[in-house]
Assembly symmetry: C2
Homo-oligomer: 231 residues x 2
């Protein structure tokens, strides 16, 4: 099983482990160790403890440097969305790690292999093992492949507002002038509809509508992001 | 103020900042920025976001390597005791960081300088700034001076049991055979008092008593730790 995993890692990520026992450990659950008591096996939990902190610092440092003007509050929300069970369990499946977990029979029958808490643990323990075996630069390369592209794909936009998300996206390579311009106010006084357009470096990206200027701007930013990502 | 801080850092920790503005930022609260709106000041929160993750990884990696047989559960409890507001605010005071925080007048009057949440924030932001300015090895040296000695002094023993704490202490430089030997059982059947001694590499360290063997062993381990630390 570990041979197949090593082939997967080499083919997909150009990762080549030196310490095969460490990789074994990272993919072995306690239930499997309990069923094979005389093999001197270890389970992943300690390495997961380390991997969790490794992911925290790599994601934190990346966000801190990529978004030099983002507030601590937004940075914290973004990090929490990236470094969490829901995200890590998805990444584990994308990396096909679920196939390689060594589980006891009872755990297997109870569907543990599909359980997001286990998948999250395994993602963290893999990263912990990679860090111990190959050092931080190789982990960073892996994270740049697996996690960071999701930022540009808008996967974590829900935790920051659309205007912020659009600004962060447009300004990722440098300063871009972003402007929201009011186009019209229509309807009766107690039910006005505002229409705005969002303009980046003089180019109109999209328009948006809403019952306040603020919601119209958010709507325009959302439309602009969606257009950009459809391209 | 920052000059005095820089002198303190140089004298006490042999730390010499390159980027003085970064150090300023790390010690400046939002309330101070608000009172000086035209000075282009920044407040510490973003750097604190980074510093928190830096401390997590350094403490995690240290515990992981120092205690190769400690379970994830105990590692996690120990890390939580070390990386928390109560600890960091103490460390901040020990480092005399409280003197150097730039606060707005209202915050000063309300006693913010003594508030443990602020002291904790400043400890983290200092570490974040140190990491950005000097890199991880210098932060590790600082943490080795300020945080890690507290482990040997027993500051965090309350989160792991005494037997574990004694074992971790005795085995910090290599394997030591630790044995608990029952010396006596005395008293009526429903109120037996057990007496045990704890032995390390053949040498009796201490004795302990309790109404079960387990509590007597914990008592002996506690006495041994207290003897060791009194020396």
């Amino acid at each position: 099983m570990i041979k197949a995993l090593e082939k997967d890692l080499a083919d997909n990520f150009d990762i080549h482990f030196n310490d095969h026992a460490l990789l074994d450990e990272a993919f072995t659950q306690a239930s499997y160790v309990n069923e094979h008591p005389n093999q001197g096996l270890k389970f992943y939990e300690r390495i997961e403890f380390l991997g969790d902190a490794v992911l925290q610092i790599i994601v934190s440092e990346y966000l801190f440097k990529r978004y030099p003007d983002m507030s601590q509050g937004k940075l914290t929300r973004l990090r929490a969305a990236m470094v969490c069970e829901a995200s890590f369990s998805e990444f584990a499946k994308e990396c096909r790690f679920d196939q390689y977990i060594r589980l006891g029979k009872g755990e297997e029958l109870s569907g543990a292999r599909e359980r997001s808490s286990l998948l999250c643990d395994i993602f963290e323990s893999f990263v912990g093992a990679l860090y111990l075996d190959q050092g931080r630069p190789v982990v960073e390369k892996f994270v740049r492949t697996v996690i960071f592209p999701k930022l540009d794909q808008g996967k974590f936009d829900h935790v920051i507002d659309n205007k912020t998300a659009l600004q962060e996206y447009l300004q990722r390579h440098g300063d871009v002038a972003i402007e929201y311009r009011l186009l019209s106010e229509e309807g009766p006084e107690n039910d006005i509809t505002f229409k705005v357009e969002v303009i980046a470096d003089g180019k109109v990206l999209a328009t948006g509508m809403g019952h306040s200027k603020k919601t119209a701007e958010q709507d325009a930013a959302k439309a602009a992001l969606s257009d950009i990502r459809a391209k």
